[in-house]
Amino acid sequence: MMKKNGLLITTLLMASCFLSCKKDDPINGKDDGSGKGEKGIVRIEVAHFAGDQPLLMDGMTRYRNSHGDDFTVTMLKYYVSNLVLIKADGSTFAEPESYHLINQAEENSLQFTLTDVPAGKYDKLKLLIGVDSLRNVSGAQTGALDPLNDMFWTWSTGYIMAKMEGKSNASTAPGSILNFHIGGFSGPYNVLQEVVLELPQDLVVSVDKEASLHLKSDLLSWFDMPFTIDFATMNNVAMQGPEAQQIAQNYRQMFSVISVE
């Protein structure tokens, strides 16, 4: 029942979003004075950090969470989906088929472009960290959502929204491992996080020049606020549940804007 409601809500949200885009597009053109129907490209780049240090995934460089546990990192992957650019007047551009797997180990995945973005000035970026509920109940998918990407639970259907692996001396798990596989798309353990990033300056989209948005993604946020994670007691999360929920509520703070060009 709950699942169905969630699905219905997701569907309605998506539908309303599409409707609003269509309705608003012509107005956008008028408002910002750019040519009607003109479209541009927005490049989005993600850089991973641990606090203010660039993240190195060499399994050797040590970082420290806010609980005081030091750790190394061997994997960092997560989905961002349903990207929406928002103008000051509230009109929006929603990227169609918007699913991106960000993987620190694959440089190509750290930047992607939104195409056919109506010209104008945008001051917010909305995105979902994870894969929306609807795609979790829609059968075999492809592209970023292909289960070959190793971000899918085969025994209990659903996408792993985010994965971090590494080691910590504080971890009580065998091999001192850290294993955070965060998933769950419905009911009390839904980990989906919708984030709205306020841009420090307008993102100006025009036909002439590619606009770009640089995001910082801070791994330390995963273990910091509102739940301070103690690696001695939480080090191996491999299914949906309250632990995954805590990590997800923490990592909803991971993004910040470095620059808008």
Binding site: N136, A140, D146, W155, S156
Partner: protein
């Protein structure tokens, strides 16, 4: 591709009824031209959950799915196929095995269920862990106790095989082999496995000259009084998760199976519940229960009449067991016989390709 599909659909639609009867009479071992590859909802069935919305069925797609289903290439050491634990003559269960055997004869933890009328299922596996028919195959493929293979491994083997690229081209328009295409062709094969031609169905659709005998009819009456609350007609399951009062015995891994609790470990209300199985085709799908602990229907009926164990989440309908007299049990067994669908288990479309 769409035009091809349409053409196939149209030709099948025009010829289907005539040839459908022809095939059944002849029982040829291989697929004949013009056989029925459309999904038809039997008149007395409810609306299905899955209607191939994004996966239009074609003869080539179905045939590819059938080929994959029976091909041991799907397991790590190429020793077992889907069909090893889902045998056509056993209504796609594994006849006589309490639990399934995977690669290297590793023992699984649960009884391999019959496969039919899957398009009506709201979830898959005894614990309902999988929510879509297209996602179903990934589970046994990657389970170390079953096929112990990776999705990369399968895609790689299929891509480098001599025949598969061409079969994918016929099914999907080009030679690309992807997990989505593998899963969708398997869904075409398994989704067309509709079992709706048992005596019960013939009576339901008013087939000429078919009627329940007196004992079958009285079995149906008992069934509708005492069993139908969970084994809803005409699919004979409501697909809910229930604890039916089995003793909590250790499984082949030495643990008590939590059933639905494996999927929802944080909710103790889900513990010891298993998906209600259909009662169709029991003749072919023995043994019974999630771990195959009962070999005969008599044992099953004895369990419900005087073997219920009161454990956490025992279904409210079974708190005091079902009172079943000897005569009622005999009548029930006679009725359950009318749910065996020989047409289905012998359907040439679903047999292992030669």
């Amino acid at each position: 591709m769409r035009a091809d599909t349409l053409r196939i659909l149209l030709s099948v639609l025009t010829m289907s009824s005539v040839l459908w009867y022809g095939c059944r009479k002849d029982d040829p071992p291989a697929i004949q031209k013009g056989e029925n590859y459309t999904f038809q909802v039997p008149a007395h069935f409810p609306e299905p959950v899955y209607r191939f919305e994004q996966n239009p069925v074609s003869e080539a797609g179905f045939t590819l799915g059938r080929r994959l289903f029976f091909d041991p290439i799907m397991s790590r050491d190429q020793t077992i196929s889907c069909g090893s634990c889902h045998q056509p003559f056993a209504a796609f269960s594994q006849f006589g095995h309490n639990v399934s055997h995977g690669v290297k004869d590793r023992l699984g933890v649960r009884n391999s269920p019959g496969l039919f009328n899957l398009n009506w299922h709201t979830s898959f596996f005894w614990d309902g862990g999988v929510n879509h028919i297209e996602n179903q195959p990934a589970n046994p493929i990657t389970n170390p106790l079953e096929m112990d293979e990776t999705l990369e491994g399968i895609v790689g083997k299929l891509r480098s095989s001599a025949e598969y690229p061409q079969l994918f081209q016929q099914a999907f328009g080009d030679t690309l082999i992807s997990t989505q295409r593998i899963f969708r062709s398997l869904a075409q094969f398994m989704g067309l496995m509709v079992s709706a031609d048992a005596k019960y169905d013939k009576v339901a659709r008013g087939a000429a000259g078919v009627a329940f005998t007196e004992v079958e009819q009285s079995g149906l009456n008992v069934f509708r009084e005492k069993c139908v609350q969970c084994h809803t007609e005409p699919l004979f399951s409501d697909f809910s998760f229930r604890n039916n009062g089995l003793a909590l015995l250790p499984n082949t891994q030495g643990e008590v199976d939590l059933g639905r609790g494996v999927i929802e470990p944080n909710d103790s209300g889900s513990y010891y519940r298993f998906k209600v199985p259909s009662l169709r085709n029991l003749k072919y799908t023995q043994p019974y229960m999630h771990d195959g602990r009962f070999t005969t229907i008599d044992e099953v009926l004895d369990h419900y009449s005087n073997g219920i164990h009161v454990t956490l989440n025992l279904d409210p309908l079974l708190q005091t067991g079902l009172s079943l007299s000897t005569a009622e049990k005999s009548a029930l067994k006679a009725f359950l016989e009318t749910l065996n669908d020989e047409t289905f288990v012998k359907d040439p479309r679903f047999q292992e390709p030669q």
